[in-house]
Symmetry: C2
Subunit: 337 residues, 2 copies
């Protein structure tokens, strides 16, 4: 991943082009926010078999696909009018032509825009459906979640505790400060995986008990550990595997045998699989937020690049923080305008 | 694994002991047949956490646990009388005291004894429940099965084709001769994994199609391949992982990401999980056998050790063939008397 512009081996290149005229069923959008997601890394991996991906890869020369939020400037759609604020699948850029099919919905302007790319955006919905549909999570059960300070992980903690009424929520995160925050969201305990003894800390907290459900965002070594700490007939929610996105060797799984001997169920999913349940889920999440028990705004980190001379150049740099020590807690958003 | 007797590092040791008197709820059994199963290797692995195993490990000094078939010589049980032939969880030995709880049932003497340790024994039932309960296999679906010439795998082929009415059954086995036999059982095609291009042979046979279900008996490299060839929303039946039983490094899984991007469900199981469904399953399997479409006897290889001066010394040697080039096709039984 080379973020420097203009080098022959740079991953990203800034290009300008004239926008075509808006056609029927399309809108022209001024982008306000971009979502930054680890899964975008998969879309630009070389040598993939497109048939095995959940979305088509972004090929060389194409603009990078992203979730975003923006204002409709011009519309030839029956569903969205100029002045509407919408979310959807966008591209990195400042002004875009977006087809209706790529718009996920209109924003209720009485709610903070940021929620639409975090708590009630795809990351919040991913946490929700992972627990509900894949984990088949029931009141009183226990859950272990990795990348617990991340956009999805932090929503898992919050929803497991305050919506699904978990008995025990244990998080794994990347710093003591993040762990403290994860505990403030509702985790009974959160351990820092940079501590050599983080696993034994979890073991100590759990005693003889094992987890009903493991919500996996990272794969690799933590997954191996979790496989050995999931209850007989327990469930593994396979949501992400960030440990291997930049280095596939870190994603190898060595405790497969646990799946057999302890009759675990592992299931992969994409929140879009439950598209028709989005309205119900959104209502549930908003109700939890409005109950006042949780503060989701603390889980959003906004990088405002509008202040830079050329904001567009900053987009990949901000996104790349997801994979570095600079990764902030919760959801990382880019404010473009 | 050292099979030589009397060496200080020998894995097995022949010991004699006086049988105690039969107590209430027990029977004394003369062993006729032993089942040989890869899973026994797991029971004697060092350094395991007993809590994570589906059965207690066999500890140093204990007799090796095994499935077997024998004649009741003496009974203090209300369920089994002298003269009955029973199957159950035995130990390696020629005459044993067996508690009622370890007996799985009485043999219908009108059926061949061997069936009780193969087609309608735990291997047949494992194939049956793997497909039915874990694979949720439906008429017209396709299945890929590894170790297809093995005891379980060969029953998977047979039942998938003749009972569950698969559209396509593809097997992977260890020799051309075994593959030929697997095809005679009902596989549309079987490939020899010792051929460097066995994967492309499967790809060629399948064309653009992928598998609804992968029945995994081996783990490791074949599992990795199968993960990339299982349909979106498909199912992986995690039955065994013999690739890693003697060398854990061969069991690492590198295509975990497929589980997420293609929303696969992986589920581990043990046939005993469906204990109450055993009679129904047995009836189904017997019906297929009696239909005459399949010849299950060809899937049983009996090593008669009764001819040796000391038959007991041969027991571990026969069992170890499961892990060597000498492994015969189908179920390997030891005939002790």
């Amino acid at each position: 991943m080379n973020l420097s512009w203009g080098q022959s081996n740079s991953t990203f290149k800034l290009m300008s082009s004239e926008l075509p005229a808006v056609k029927d069923g399309e809108v022209r959008v001024k982008v306000l926010y971009f979502s930054n997601d680890p899964t975008q890394r998969l879309w630009i991996s070389a040598g993939q078999d497109p048939k095995r991906q959940y979305m088509p890869p972004v090929v060389k020369g194409e603009a990078i696909r992203t979730l975003g939020l923006g204002e409709v400037l011009e519309s030839k759609s029956d569903k969205y009018a100029a002045g509407d604020v919408i979310t959807g699948v966008f591209h990195w850029g400042d002004e875009l032509i977006v087809p209706e099919a790529s718009v996920s919905g209109k924003v209720d302007k009485s709610l903070p825009y940021e929620w639409y790319l975090s708590a009630i955006g795809l990351t919040g919905l991913t946490a929700y459906f992972g627990l509900q549909k894949i984990g088949q999570f029931k009141e009183g059960q226990s859950v272990l979640v990795s990348a617990a300070s991340g956009a999805t992980g932090s929503m898992v903690v919050l929803l497991a505790k305050h919506l699904f009424k978990a008995s025990k929520v244990v998080g794994i995160a990347g710093s003591d400060e993040k762990c403290k925050w994860v505990e403030s969201l509702g985790a009974d305990v959160c351990v820092n995986y940079r501590d050599a003894d983080y696993k034994s800390k979890i073991d100590k907290f759990m005693g003889e008990e094992t987890f009903d459900v493991y919500y996996d965002n990272v794969g690799g070594e933590m997954l191996d550990y979790a496989l050995t700490r999931t209850k007989r007939y327990g469930r593994i929610i396979a949501c992400g595997a960030i440990s291997g996105y930049n280095d596939a060797s870190k994603m190898s799984v060595n405790c497969w045998g646990e799946i057999i001997s302890n009759r675990l169920t592992v299931q992969g999913f994409i929140a879009f699989d439950f598209f028709s349940d989005f309205p119900e889920a959104t209502k549930d999440i908003v109700a939890v937020i409005k109950s006042g028990k949780v503060k989701v705004d603390e889980g959003v980190h906004i990088e405002d690049v509008s202040k830079f001379e050329n904001p567009l150049e900053k987009i990949p740099e901000v996104w790349n923080k997801l994979f570095t020590e600079e990764k902030p807690r919760g959801k990382l958003l880019t404010k473009l305008a």
